[in-house]
Every structure is written in C-alpha cells, then in structure tokens.
C-alpha cells in the first residue's frame, strides 16, 4: 500500500495547508503528514496523495502558484 503514495514537500506550513484545502475541494484524497526525516531536515508537514493523482496535484499547485520544494514517491 505504502508504495502507492507520494508526498509534496513545501517551503511553508501555510502553503501545505492551502494545497490540502484546494485538493480536497477538487475531491482528491490527500492527507497532511509530518515530513519523513529522510526527505527533509525540516520539522514541518507535507501533503500525501495517491500516485495516480499526480497530474491533478501538479495542476492545482501550478494553477494557484503554490511554490513547493519537490514531489517524492514513498
């Protein structure tokens, strides 16, 4: 199961929360989780989503000009 997920790492918590709210409005199944230690030294949160939704997630980020660090497969 775990292999089906990816996460978006953001620069700020506020951006992560904004992305979560916008993704949920687009009916995507997402969850904010603590950033996995191996991905970043930061103590913040990241947005987990199903791999199949990657194009939609990227579209939401682009459309709303939400800056993010990277997207990682888990």
């Amino acid at each position: 199961m775990k292999d089906n997920y990816s996460v978006v790492i953001f620069y700020s918590t506020s951006a992560a929360i904004r992305a979560e709210i916008l993704a949920k409005r687009s009916k995507l199944v997402v969850k904010l989780i603590p950033v996995p230690r191996h991905l970043s030294s930061d103590c913040g949160i990241c947005l987990r989503f199903n791999n199949k939704d990657k194009p939609k997630i990227e579209e939401i980020l682009k459309e709303n000009k939400i800056e993010y660090e990277n997207i990682y497969k888990m």
Binding site: S12, T13, S14, I17, I21, V35, S41, D42, C43, G44
Partner: protein
C-alpha cells in the same frame, strides 16, 4: 446601555465569534505550523481559513499574501519602518491617526522626508495635491481610508492610480473601513492594505494584519521581528517567503479563529447592507444633532458618503464633561478628546480641546440613535439628570 464607541473597538461581537474561540481553547488548543500532529494541523487550517475569508472580503487572489499582526498599528509600523530609508520621501495627509504619524515622525528624525498634504476642515483631500508633492525620491504614499475622528472617506482609488502612474507604493490604513465599507485591493489600487480585526471585522482585540499586494517586492520590505516560524527549522536565517517572513513567534490562533467568524459574519450579511445601515444611522444622528442649537457637528458636509463616526461639541461645554454625563446619567458609552489623532483635530479646528465622538456599528439601532440625540439635547439645554447609572 448604549455602546457608541465602535471606532475604538466593536461591541457586541456576533455570537459565533466567542463560541468558536471557546471551541478552539477547549478542543484544538495546539500551535499551528509547529508540529505534524492532527491538532497542530487543525490550528493551521483555522489560520488559513481566516486568511481565505479576508481574501474573499478584500478581493485578494492568494490568501498567503495576507500576514497577521497584533493590530493595524503593527501592520503600519512594519511597512513604514521596513520600507523607508534615509533620503526617501513619504507622502501622507493631515487627517492621519498617530498609528501613521508617530512612526513617520520617528523616521523623520532618521532622515526620511515626510510630506503632510493638508486636507480641508471637512476632511476632504484633493488627489491633485498628492500628485504635486511627488518628487524624485518619493517612495510611498500612505493614507487612512476612513477618518477615526469625523468618518470622512479619502479618495484612495484616485490616489492609488496616481501611485501606479509614478511607480510608487501605496499603503492604506483601513482601521475604520474594513468590514463596513466597500474595499477592493485591485479596484482601489492598493499595494499594502493594513487592517485591524477588532473593529468592523468583529474579531477580538489582538488581531490585525497586512495584505501584501502582488506588486510589492518583499525583499525590499524588512521584517520588524524575526524568529521561529515552524518552517526551515534547519536554518538560522529568517525565511524569505510569505507569510512566514513577517510572522515570527506563536500567533494568536484563538483570536484569529474568532476573527474568521467575524469576517464570515460580514460576508454573510453583505458589506453593502452593513454600509447602508450604518450610513442611515449616521445621517439620522447628524440630522438630529444639527437641530440642537448649541451643538456643532464637524465634517457634516460628507453626509452622503462616510463611515459611522461623528464628532461634535456642545457650545461652552468640555467634551470630557459631556462624556462623563453621557456615561453616568444616560448609560451611553462614547469617546471624547483627541482620539489619538492630533493632526486630524488640527485640520478640523478642534485642537487641543477635542470633540465628543459617537461611533456606531451594524448592531446599533435607530432607537439608540434617538436616545443619544435626546441625551445630547438634555445636556445642551441644561436638563437635570433623572437618575444616575453609577
């Protein structure tokens, strides 16, 4: 009790405001943006929703360009002190509150050139006078939107257009208008919009903020305070992105969750309806006061377009004495004196004695206005008090 001091802080608040704050303290509690657990994330969502509600009200596209401060004074200080450097010129009006005047006078001592454009005794400002004051070193124009002394409205949209033409930044102090008068950061050509949460937006004290317009380069606006933000914790350098760059330290999440409910209330009722109700109260009050021979109302000419703030005096009576009698004998709360705005009182000709100020909100009624007029008539005509409230 009749509360006519809404220009200082609004009272009462919509019931939902207190309810959601209690909910936050009892059920959420956590610090936003600091931890990854569910309660922290919920607190973060509440903050975001507050930004989103404000964005809807003020026509801001990206809610993350709204940053929170303790009050409008905090937002104004951030812009003036973070932006202006020795040698820069800043233009303002003679109707400003000390939240603008005091930081400017302090900056003046450090080599910033301050140009105060005079307004008429009715509080009118001619945008042409602003245009004439622009020089090569002008960086910023700062104006209040609605006067906290006489409720007059300044032509911000026209001045904003001038600022655009000359490539200047435009800061607007919306303390008396956000929540009770139409405001649109795009239409009004505003670059930096400073707001307070505890007046017409119906939040609790300790809430306010700044909208940083798309055209503002944040590299040129230094934060006044730096510290923990929950982001980039590996670095000892302040983050360079919004909103974190200007939001160090644990925010007032409980207050801001209350502010969100206040803004939602305004959005539900509708700004036009609120503005119209307050204007009708204002017109009724001014007309009633003008019928009393011993009463002088200031700034009455703009009766068709103003916020619900009225200044007046009774001939041969001190504002402080009138205020005390209103409180003790008529159970009416108002504010007397100079209202933190010596410049505005000099402009309307009431310095240093000041005025009696009545300021109303959505929750005031026509009956209350009638009672206030009767009270002033009695005090002006020397009627003895029937009873004392304290």
């Amino acid at each position: 009790m009749i509360y006519l001091d809404n220009a200082a802080t609004s009272y009462p608040k919509p019931k939902e405001v207190g309810r959601v704050m209690l909910h936050f303290l009892e059920k959420v509690g956590a610090s936003p943006g600091r931890s990854g657990h569910r309660l922290s994330i919920e607190a973060g969502r509440l903050l975001y929703q507050t930004r989103e509600s404000l964005a809807e009200l003020l026509n801001v596209i990206d809610p993350l360009r709204i940053i929170f401060t303790l009050n409008v004074t905090g937002a104004i200080n951030l812009v003036l002190k973070g932006l202006l450097r020795p040698g820069d010129q800043v233009i303002t009006s003679s109707m400003e509150h000390n939240s603008v005047m005091r930081p400017l006078r302090e900056l003046e001592k450090r080599g910033v050139e301050v140009k105060v454009v005079p307004c008429s005794p009715q509080g009118d400002l001619d945008p042409v006078d602003i245009k004439r004051s622009i020089k090569k070193n002008t960086k910023l124009i700062v104006l209040n939107h609605g006067s906290n002394v006489i409720g007059s409205i300044l032509p911000i949209s026209a001045v904003g257009a001038i600022a655009r033409d000359y490539g200047l930044l435009f800061l607007v102090d919306t303390a008396q208008t956000a929540g009770c008068y139409p405001l649109d950061i795009k239409r009004d050509n505003i670059d930096l919009l400073a707001f307070t949460g505890h007046k017409a937006l119906f939040g609790p004290p300790g809430t306010g903020g700044l909208v940083v317009g798309e055209g503002v380069d944040i590299k040129k606006l230094n934060p006044l305070k730096v510290g923990g933000t929950g982001s980039r914790s590996e670095s000892e350098k302040q983050p360079d992105f919004l909103p974190d760059i200007y939001e160090s330290g644990t925010p007032n999440t409980v207050g801001l969750s209350g502010l969100n409910e206040g803004v939602r209330f305004v959005l539900r009722e509708g700004i036009e309806k609120i503005c119209q109700h307050e204007l009708e109260l204002t017109q009724k009050l001014i007309e009633g006061l003008k019928e009393i021979p011993a009463v002088i109302v200031y700034g009455e000419d703009q009766i068709k377009d103003k916020v619900a703030v009225i200044s007046f005096n009774i001939k041969d009576q001190l504002p402080s004495e009138v205020g005390l009698r209103l409180d003790e004998e008529y159970d009416i709360m108002c504010r007397v004196g100079l209202h933190c705005s010596p410049a505005a009182h000099k402009t309307i000709g009431t310095f240093p004695v000041g005025t009696v100020r009545f300021s109303m909100s959505w929750f005031n009624t026509f009956e209350e206005v009638d009672q206030a007029i009767i009270a002033i008539r009695n005090i002006a005509e020397g009627v003895k008090p029937k009873r004392s409230f304290c």
